[in-house]
């Protein structure tokens, strides 16, 4: 019974954990510019994310090693330094963007300029990490994140026909702006398959002391959690498609994006959008900072864990504090959160082959997954993602320039 409760909680918290600045901004833009026709990209990206998260959880439950630790052990530091360095840079940029997103949300609610909110939000995020434990952080972020279901409710209440939405799940070639379309596809994949989500998930499995007996929980949490999480991104895309679609507007700011709630929620529109954006981004900010501590601690062999006494894991605490401080510093110097999001998303795509390739090896070695090695389906999926990832890594920079 307790396991079922934890499972349900795990799935619900994944919904909250899924929604953040990258998934909201890419979904809104995709919906506004291309109607329902990019729904397949969210579905495909979620499939890959769920598969990778399940695998990362499996390695963690069976071998008690996080992905960063396993990669260093199996491939050596000279290989790891590239994905590790990239992940820390991506985490810092994404954290900057999340703080920006949360600050814009507070600005929508208060009318006071968003630059003023970066530092207070950074301090609150640090206090949550300093005083909280894993359960408080994961469940708190997840349960508050339920407000993001307002995207799904909005899509539902707009009563669109099922036919056109269903057709969106079939990949198609658009009649206009092919480069912009390709750019959004790559951005959706980059915003969804974030290395931080994978590593955070696997680190959580270790924090919660999963064992081989918990593999079914892992499978269900990864697939259902990410699956439900993606419905929020899809709801966001569908709502944007219905509200903005007919006007063919390009959405460049979050204030503009908030207008998509007006036909459904009326005078509550701005408040609900701001809460969804703010809680989604703030929760992600806490998790990303924590993840930076995880990944550095695991790679360098420090004592790590948010449930450990702070003085027993002081390098880990210093690491997440410094990354948070750096992100606050970048954010306060003035920047465009959407721009930073796009850069970190592009960088995610560039390093994706280096993140995925180790999985292909680890998932086939008994040392890491015992008898639960990947079958042809899992290996096929990983191989496909490696090839797709490499292709996207090649095209992402030109697409950034011409499609962004």
């Amino acid at each position: 019974m307790k396991k079922l409760f934890n499972l349900a909680l795990g799935v619900i918290t994944s919904i909250g954990g899924f929604v953040e600045v990258g998934s909201i901004s890419t979904s809104v833009q995709a919906g506004a510019e291309f109607g329902f026709s990019l729904l397949w990209a969210i579905a495909a990206a979620t499939l890959f994310l769920a598969a990778l998260a399940e695998m990362a959880g499996r390695v963690a439950a069976v071998s008690k090693r996080s992905i960063a630790a396993a990669v260093r052990e199996r491939f050596g530091f000279n290989f790891q330094v590239i994905p590790l360095g990239a992940e820390v840079v991506i985490d810092t940029l994404l954290l900057t963007a999340e703080l920006g997103g949360a600050a814009i949300a507070v600005k929508m609610l208060t009318g006071i300029g968003f630059q003023w909110w970066i530092l207070p939000l950074g301090i609150v995020a640090w206090l949550v990490l300093w005083l909280g434990n894993f359960t408080v952080i994961e469940d708190g972020v997840g349960l508050l994140g339920i407000v993001t279901l307002s995207f799904v409710v909005a899509a539902w209440r707009l009563h669109s026909d099922v036919g056109p939405i269903a057709r969106g799940f079939v990949p198609s070639v658009p009649h206009h702006d092919l480069t912009r379309y390709a750019f959004l596809v790559v951005s959706i994949v980059g915003a969804t398959v974030s290395p931080y989500l994978l590593n955070f998930y696997a680190s959580g499995a270790i924090e919660e002391k999963w064992t081989e007996q918990d593999l079914w929980i892992n499978r269900l949490t990864a697939w259902c959690g990410m699956g439900f999480g993606s419905t929020v991104a899809m709801g966001c895309l569908v709502t944007a498609a219905i509200v903005f679609g007919p006007q063919h507007v390009k959405v460049d700011t979050y204030e503009q994006a908030a207008q998509m709630f007006v036909p459904v929620y009326g005078r509550w529109a701005i408040v609900l959008f701001a809460l969804s954006l703010g809680i989604g981004c703030f929760g992600a900010a806490v998790e990303i900072a924590l993840n930076a501590g995880y990944v550095l601690g695991q790679a360098f062999g420090w004592t790590w864990g948010i449930d450990k006494a702070r003085r027993d894991a002081s390098r880990f605490v210093a690491a997440f504090s410094l990354v948070l401080l750096l992100a606050v510093a970048i954010a306060t110097t003035g920047f465009d959160p959407l721009r930073v999001t796009l850069i970190s998303v592009a960088l995610t795509v560039v390093v994706m082959p280096l993140v995925v390739l180790p999985f292909l090896v680890l998932m086939n070695e008994e040392e890491y997954v015992g008898k639960h090695t990947s079958g042809p389906l899992g290996n096929g999926l990983l191989a496909a993602l490696t090839v797709l990832g490499a292709l996207m890594a090649i095209v992402v920079i030109p697409l950034e320039i011409f499609g962004g």
Binding site: N78, F300, R311, E367
Partner: protein, 99 residues
């Protein structure tokens, strides 16, 4: 305790090389990427007065068991591995709410 960041090997005439010690510490790791990086790390450690006996050098004779984890016949306090951790701890415990 940490991860093995490097090993010291000694060539012997007409025999296979001999592992004499394990190194633990960021400067050993830096050296492996590029000697210049190792020098930078060393300089930073020196600036904070943390360069004594670092990188920690564990004689191979003190290695007890080699498996997925390497077991030593030493405790962490007999090495300089925890120097950074201890320095940071001395700062952290002064913060309110520290535990």
């Amino acid at each position: 305790m940490g991860r093995v960041d490097g090993i010291v090997i000694e060539p012997r005439p007409n025999q296979p090389v001999h592992v004499t010690a394990l190194l633990i510490g960021p400067s050993a790791l830096g050296d492996r990427l590029h000697p210049a990086l190792g020098r930078v790390v060393r300089r930073i450690e020196k600036r904070f007065g943390l360069d004594r006996d670092r990188p920690a050098r564990v004689a191979f004779a003190d290695v007890d068991e080699i498996g997925a984890k390497i077991r030593l016949r030493l405790t962490i306090s007999e090495t300089a591995v925890a120097a950074v951790e201890q320095r940071l701890r001395s700062w952290l415990v002064r913060l309110p709410g520290s535990r």
